[in-house]
Amino acid sequence: DQQVKQNSPSLSVQEGRISILNCDYTNSMFDYFLWYKKYPAEGPTFLISISSIKDKNEDGRFTVFLNKSAKHLSLHIVPSQPGDSAVYFCAASWYNNNDMRFGAGTRLTVKP
């Protein structure tokens, strides 16, 4: 039972354009959401997070939007750069649990 879903396994974007990665979740108990980025042969690294009390969090070129009513979050990368090419994992957690639930990942390719 995948409680966190990333329905697009891959996304290709031109350099300089916006990349939008989407994530849906089913468990209404989730109250903290994270995005991790993974390069080949490396472990995932934390990118950005958002608490359920917010609907937007921004960090430089990266913005995460949360729509609680739709149980949907998205990661926007503007402008996209070739170095952003990686697999992006959406993850969710809640106060009563120590672990996180991860989506299947979306492979982003930014073309020069």
């Binding site: 995948q2 966190v4 990333q6 396994p9 903290y32 994270l34 991790y36 042969a41 490396e42 472990g43 995932p44 690294t45 934390f46 997070s49 608490s51 994992f89 993850a91 957690s93 809640w94 106060y95 649990n97 120590n98 672990d99 996180m100 991860f102 989506g103 299947a104 990942g105």
Partner: protein, 117 residues
């Protein structure tokens, strides 16, 4: 910088062998985790450890056991490896020192790609 290291990047084992995957973190983190990553399934939690000698099952503990005798080291053991345990194994650690508990960031090692023949 937090550093999480895993003993091997690649391993090839035979069915029925006992396999040890080692993970070491250098930041005195209380929590440590073992995940496996499979295509289309993302990261799934096998076991995690609150602290030394403490462990809890994750979503897919069957066929695995763990050991945490020292705070910095968390071992994953495949008692009798099977072909369906061929996967990428990722270790992670997390501090509780910030007081945010589950909102603290997990730091991952580079992963061990295990092939069971």
């Amino acid at each position: 910088d937090v550093k999480v290291t895993q003993s091997s990047r690649y391993l090839v084992k035979r069915t029925g062998e006992k396999v040890f995957l080692e993970c070491v973190q250098d930041m005195d983190h209380e929590n440590m985790f073992w995940y496996r990553q499979d295509p289309g399934l993302g990261l799934r939690l096998i076991y995690f450890s609150y602290d030394v000698k403490m462990k809890e099952k994750g979503d897919i503990p069957e066929g695995y056991s763990v050991s945490r005798e020292k705070k910095e080291r968390f071992s994953l053991i495949l008692e009798s490896a099977s072909t369906n345990q061929t996967s990428m194994y990722l270790c992670a650690s997390r501090t509780l020192a910030g007081g945010q508990g589950y909102q603290e960031t997990q730091y991952f090692g580079p992963g061990t790609r295990l092939l069971v023949l």
